[in-house]
């Protein structure tokens, strides 16, 4: 199972296994990783699952769809590697992915 490393804003690291096919958001929520709210449960409707993808990984992710792009535009503290974690599907190729959570989702 692919391993994903989530790094909290305060630096605390969590490395967990996430089944392929799930989203990076689900991997966080199902492993009780703080910092990802995902109020809408992954419907790309709330922009509360914002993460920063590690620079080494950003190029390996499929590009953002229009909806994610525009939703992200309104997230707080946007960075060049910002993504909505509900829109990143976990695949075997993403084994080792590192994402950081922002200070706040609201």
């Amino acid at each position: 199972m692919p391993k994903i490393k989530y790094v909290e804003h305060n630096g605390k690291e969590h490395e967990v296994e996430v089944p392929a096919g799930w989203s990076v958001m689900e991997g966080a929520v199902k492993n009780l990783i703080p910092g990802i709210d995902a109020d809408c449960g992954g419907a790309c409707a709330c922009a509360t699952c914002h993460v920063y993808v590690d620079a080494a990984w950003i190029g390996k992710l499929p590009p953002k769809a229009d909806m994610e792009e525009t939703m992200l535009d309104f997230a707080q503290d946007l960075e060049p590697t910002s993504r909505l974690s509900c829109q990143i599907k976990v695949t075997p190729e993403l084994d080792g992915l590192v994402v950081r959570t922002p200070k706040s989702q609201h």
Partner: protein
């Protein structure tokens, strides 16, 4: 002595309350009772990805099992609460147990409104509210089958969209003259009417269902004086708040359990309620009952805050969403008849928004595949911002710069 909080109802609101109570430092005992055999799960995907079969059951659950263990929350599942004794501060369960509480949260949710017409009890007439409902529906969803959807609201239309994609022959019966009449404004209804027709769904508006007919199971729907053959019927005509427990305990109920801005029942400072089952004074000063995830989450959060002595009035802007085909409908705020409606963008491009202005102030936005309109709109509503109709309609001005 250790404080005891009992939560009746193991849904979105109940789960949120547990999370907030612990996050806010509540260190007493928490017990959550739910009448379904499942820990709290998400209902929105039931009529979408779960029905389609693209999301497994395991993924519906809001929290992993370890969450409840870590939060030291006792889960009593598959058991219903039958009575509240407010004087003795106990809740009686249908397995004979009695739970003592210091504070009680009613997060009992809602149930489907059922049809009462002839044939309503025939096998093959389905409803959609919980996992078991969708499992039953999925078993009979097969290409070529004729599905009659009763009610052109969110549930009926989301099911219609999934069904037509799965190759079923779908007819929607709607008693009113437009789709989602209770939830969206006429321009949005008109857009969805066209989208469903283009996808191959037959829509019969102004058509009330008079009954279901069949020998051993549903074989036809009688509607508008005609008989329409059907193999399956799905009824989605709204929900009713589960408030009987509160009512029997002498708590004030209207169309929902009446609560104040701290989600407290005014007659009893030990009893709170959150989610679909409640009726509260909305941010516009009008009593409302909201049926949505946002209200379940936010109201439960406010209830939990009040329970731990950190009350904060509930004034969040309501938001809703619906997925049908490739169309994401996102709504913020509550529209009212009489609002001036400003359409921004082209419905024909499958990307537009309808803003509702009340006395020049943005009161609601309905956005179709239009995230900026939705997100900025939500902020404008929260701020009580005024924007001219001309600016709102001008797509040359990005939403970011609209004010």
């Amino acid at each position: 002595m250790q404080q005891r909080i009992v939560i009746v109802g193991a849904g979105q609101a109940g789960a949120q309350a547990v999370a907030t109570l612990r996050a806010e430092g509540f260190d007493g005992a928490i017990t959550m009772v739910g009448d379904e055999p499942f820990a709290p799960y998400q209902r929105p995907p039931l009529s979408k990805a779960y029905l389609m079969g693209t999301m497994e059951r395991e993924r519906l659950f809001l929290k992993p099992e370890s969450f409840y263990a870590q939060a030291d929350c006792e889960l009593i599942l598959g058991v219903a609460a039958t009575r509240i004794d407010r004087a003795g501060k106990t809740v009686t369960l249908n397995d004979g147990r009695s739970l003592a509480y210091d504070k009680l949260l009613l997060a009992t949710g809602s149930r489907v409104r059922k049809v009462t017409c002839p044939g309503a009890d025939l096998p093959g007439v389905h409803y959609l509210r919980d996992i078991a409902d969708v499992d039953a529906l999925r078993d009979v969803f097969a290409p070529g089958r004729r599905l009659a959807v009763v009610g052109g609201g969110y549930i009926g239309l989301e099911v219609a969209a999934v069904a037509v994609k799965r190759g079923l022959d779908v007819t929607v019966f709607e008693a009113l003259d437009r789709l989602m009449a209770r939830a969206v404004s006429p321009p949005v209804s008109a857009f969805y009417e066209q989208a469903h027709r283009e996808a191959g769904v037959k829509l019969l508006l102004n058509t009330s269902v008079e009954g279901f007919e069949g020998r051993d199971r549903v074989e036809a729907v009688r509607a508008g004086g005609q008989l329409h053959p059907a193999d399956i019927a799905l009824v989605g005509i709204g929900i009713l708040p589960n408030m009987e427990l509160a009512k029997d305990a002498g708590l004030d109920c209207g169309d929902g359990i009446v609560v104040d801005l701290n989600a407290m029942c005014p007659a009893d400072a030990s009893v709170f309620a959150a989610g679909d089952c409640t009726r509260h004074i909305g941010r516009e000063g009008v009593e409302i009952r909201l049926e949505c995830v946002q209200n379940a989450i936010d109201q439960a959060r406010h209830a939990a805050l009040a329970m731990v002595g950190k009350p904060k009035p509930y004034r969040e802007v309501p938001w809703f969403w619906s997925d049908q085909y490739d169309l994401k409908l996102q709504i913020a705020g509550l529209a009212r008849p009489g609002d001036a409606i400003v359409v921004r963008g082209e419905p024909a491009a499958r990307k537009f928004a309808a803003f509702h202005l009340r006395d020049g102030v943005v009161a609601a936005v309905e956005a179709v595949n239009a995230a900026p309109e939705y997100l900025v709109g939500r902020r404008l509503i929260a701020d009580g911002a005024s924007v001219t109709p001309q600016r709102l309609a001008d797509t040359a001005i990005p939403m970011k710069n609209i004010v």
